[in-house]
Amino acid sequence: MTPTSNHSQSVSVEVRGLRKSFNGVAVLKGLDFKVEPGEIFVIMGPSGSGKSVLLKHIIGLETPDAGEILIEGEPIQSSSVMDKYRMAMVFQSGALLNSLSVGENVGLYLAEHRLKPEAEIRRIVSEKLELVGLKGLEDRSPSELSGGMKKRVAIARALVVDPQLILYDEPTSELDPLMGVAIGEEILNLKKRTQATSIVVSHDRDLAFGVADRIAIINEGKILFIGTPDEVKNHSDPLIKKFIHAELKKT
């Protein structure tokens, strides 16, 4: 996995018969879907439905009990895939290293793998932070940032890899609506700029319908439906309708 200065060539992701259990409890019960190159694919579903576990499988942080994940047709379990394709993940909490400054967090991948000289890393860090609207914050500590800023730093850190596949885990959770919109715009801008394939896990309906090319609805470890935002909105399945149109009503 070596970053390039050129724009990414996006990759396809295929999930086949993916199953995973923790302590005998089945979390993923046989998932099958394919994400096309350059697509923004949103996975929606209630809390505890297995969305984040699925994302961890796609980036290789979890090993499936059964089934496989193919990146450009090659199984992710083979070590060459992780080296061959550039992938990055934006974690729900941002997962910034608290012992490092913002700049060190963003440049960590380049510095640890000694891919660029120090001055060049500083330049790239500054450039990526500018892309997410956080120019000049290199020396700040992650603890000094708001939730939205942390997420944007995490996006900048992901961009350093120049990813062909970028995974977002609940990118708008714990954010106010304005910041949620800003993050959604960021995801769309990134797609335009890098053409990277994006997989977004979220239960934020506004974000999903705003950015998705296709949406998968997942519940209790199974995929209920995959379709465009309009197809999902108009779907007749009661579970999907309930999830998509859930509203608080005053009695």
């Binding site: 996995m1 942080l61 992938m87 990055a88 993940m89 290293l97 608290n98 960590l108």
Partner: protein, 246 residues
């Protein structure tokens, strides 16, 4: 339990295998060395001064009654080198540094920082475990040398000024020089090096195994300290048997 022992041995092997990367991670090793020294030096000084003093007080009063007051220096010297210096310092470091290691790595695990490292193809064992284990393996023997010397001095102070003993500095250190040899100091250093590896690997292992949030981190810290101390005391017996003739 056997699974944990297996994991600890495996982690130790992985940390050893990462040693060729030590130069690349030298800044992290220096940071850890500073952290260990900065956090422990004052405590080590106070602890060792009083351990040496108590040794001299307990043994001195009995030895003086039997006309053996002039052997106090050697007794305190050997006890500090072979047993009390390495064991007490290791217990102090397990409590002060082992707990900090388990807490830091545990919170990194709980807040997905370890996952973030893995997604960047950064091996947490190279990045976190090896620098910590190496730093503690360097720092603890140095702290033990410091502790031994302060302990000797503490014993000398009590021997010289306690009315029940009243052995001069010169007599105390003459006897110490006659009794304590390089083998005794080496004995303590070998023990402290082994104890340092135990503290480093056990604490990092507990940190990496953390499950859950703050409660899980707390559990890991407690386990890291307790397991380290238990292993230090068990290992101390076997090392003492092994090194008894050194």
């Amino acid at each position: 339990m056997f699974q944990s022992i297996g994991e600890i041995i495996l982690l130790f092997g992985q940390a050893l295998a990462a040693l060729p990367l030590a130069w690349r991670h030298r800044q992290k090793i220096f940071d850890q060395l500073f952290e260990i020294g900065n956090a422990s030096l004052l405590m080590a000084c106070i602890l060792s001064l009083f351990i040496g003093g108590v040794l001299a007080l307990q043994a001195g009063s009995v030895l003086v009654q039997r006309g053996l007051g002039n052997v106090i220096g050697g007794m305190v010297g050997v006890s500090m080198c072979k047993e009390l210096g390495p064991v007490m310092m290791s217990i102090l470091i397990a409590g002060r540094i082992g707990s900090a290691m388990a807490a830091e790595i545990g919170s990194m695990r709980a807040y997905q920082e370890l996952d973030a490292l893995r997604t960047m193809n950064i091996n947490p064992i190279h990045y976190l475990v090896m620098p910590r284990v190496l730093a503690i393996a360097i720092a603890l023997p140095l702290l033990v040398i410091f502790s031994i010397m302060v302990g000797w001095f503490g014993g000398a102070l009590v021997a010289a000024y306690n009315k029940m003993i009243l052995i001069s500095f010169q007599s105390y250190f003459n006897n110490l020089r006659q009794v304590v040899d390089l083998g005794d100091v080496a004995n303590g250093l070998i023990k402290s090096f082994a104890f340092a590896l135990v503290i480093g690997v056990v604490s990092c292992h507990q940190g990496l195994q953390t499950i859950g949030g703050p409660r899980g981190i707390g559990r890991s810290v407690t386990k890291a300290v307790v397991n380290s101390i238990v292993l230090i005391l068990i290992l101390d017996y076997f090392l003492t048997r092994l090194l008894i003739n050194l």
